[in-house]
Symmetry: C2
Subunit: 217 residues, 2 copies
DNA sequence: CCTACCGATCGGTAGG
DNA sequence: CCTACCGATCGGTAGG
């Protein structure tokens, strides 16, 4: 009788195993996509990286594009979590700004954190019908940035007007595009040093904050 | 007797025709690479775009990667030309900085000027043995930026220290990476409006300069 | 999740 | 630069 069910095991355990394999595929794909790009990565590469045969990833994803979407979603989920966590420890506008910058560098460059770099690099490989879903989540992340940059602009700590005063929505958006652009573009040139790399990201974050902030240390 | 030669036509004319076809391939490839990426563009796409059959591009290039390299080289050649030309008309540090920013936006976004965007987007598709050749030319372009940014930093017109004074090599490099990063990242989000788009690039350049410059207009 | 496979497509070549 | 082609590889599927 039990054999007529999908599985004799407890459903929770099976679901866990399946979710684990799916996660392994997402992580391996992120690493491969980051290294050689979505188009240049084959399903066989992905399968091989987690010890599967070439057809098996399609048990977890209906096609290659779905894997790309899952990688991007995972990146945004982790990114939002890490950012909200980092913001909890910051109490001043300057601290919040530094936390945003430092955390974003981690999201982009930490080992095992290739998801957002893939989002930036391989955006055009994502089918149009998936783009809106990703944008909706990304918007939430951008709002965290806007909040931080707005208070910095109002105080005259970044941007052209060192007197501060209420920054317009346009000024906030420009600040976000310029600052996030500068940080995001590091995916094209920043390489983690061997050994402990966290130190270097720290230095990069400090230099970035120092460059954008008025008369900072 | 003449038929034993490669061609009965004057060699100059033949060389011109061949160079023209080669240029057409480079331009069409740039547009296609920019649109869907190097890996997702097929040799058949490229051939079709200039009215050739699938095997014919290989009369001009020994393989697909050589086309990518040629696209990047063309971009740097044009970019250097345009930048030097723009700098000739500028006399103050502020004018030179604005000219660098404005020209770079044109290089990235003008119609028919997709070469540098391809360089940025598809860098990892370029075989390692070609990278150094491209970097060597790119270094010359970066030096123009460094010169402009150094004088701006020395005057305290950009960067953290509004007092100015001799900027260190590290400060100059950081400024270049941040500012060029911000501008280069526009390839991922900036879309030319319909109709005359030059106006919009002008506005984007103005906003960029205003954001990075101390208390500017 | 594997075995075995398929149709389509790809970069590239030979020989004019 | 075309015709005609090839070997390799790719994403994906059927049927366990």
């Amino acid at each position: 009788m039990a054999e007529t069910r999908k599985s004799a095991k407890a459903p929770g355990v099976d679901g866990q195993d399946e979710a684990n394999r799916r996660q392994a595929l997402i992580r391996a794909s992120a690493r491969l996509f980051r290294e050689k790009g979505f188009e240049a990565t084959t399903v066989r590469d992905i399968a091989g990286a987690v010890g599967m045969r070439s057809g098996s990833p399609f048990y977890h994803f209906s096609n290659k594009q779905e894997i790309l979407k899952a990688v991007m979603e995972e990146g945004l989920r982790q990114g939002l979590d890490r950012t909200e966590e980092a913001l909890r420890a910051a109490t001043t506008p300057q601290q919040r700004f530094h936390a945003m910058v430092r955390t974003h560098y981690g999201i982009l460059h930490d080992e095992g954190s290739e998801f957002i770099a893939v989002l930036l690099y391989d955006w055009r490989s994502l089918p149009d019908e998936h783009k809106q879903d990703i944008i909706a989540v990304k918007d939430r992340y951008d709002l965290l940035w806007q909040a931080s940059l707005k208070e910095m602009l109002d105080l005259g700590l970044i941007g052209a007007n060192s007197q501060g005063g209420k920054a317009s929505a346009d000024e906030v958006k420009t600040a976000r595009l310029m600052i996030m652009g500068a940080i995001n573009f590091t995916v094209t040139w920043y390489k983690q040093r061997s050994g402990r790399g966290a130190m270097d990201l720290e230095a990069l974050a400090d230099r970035t904050v120092r460059f954008f902030m008025r008369g900072s240390a």
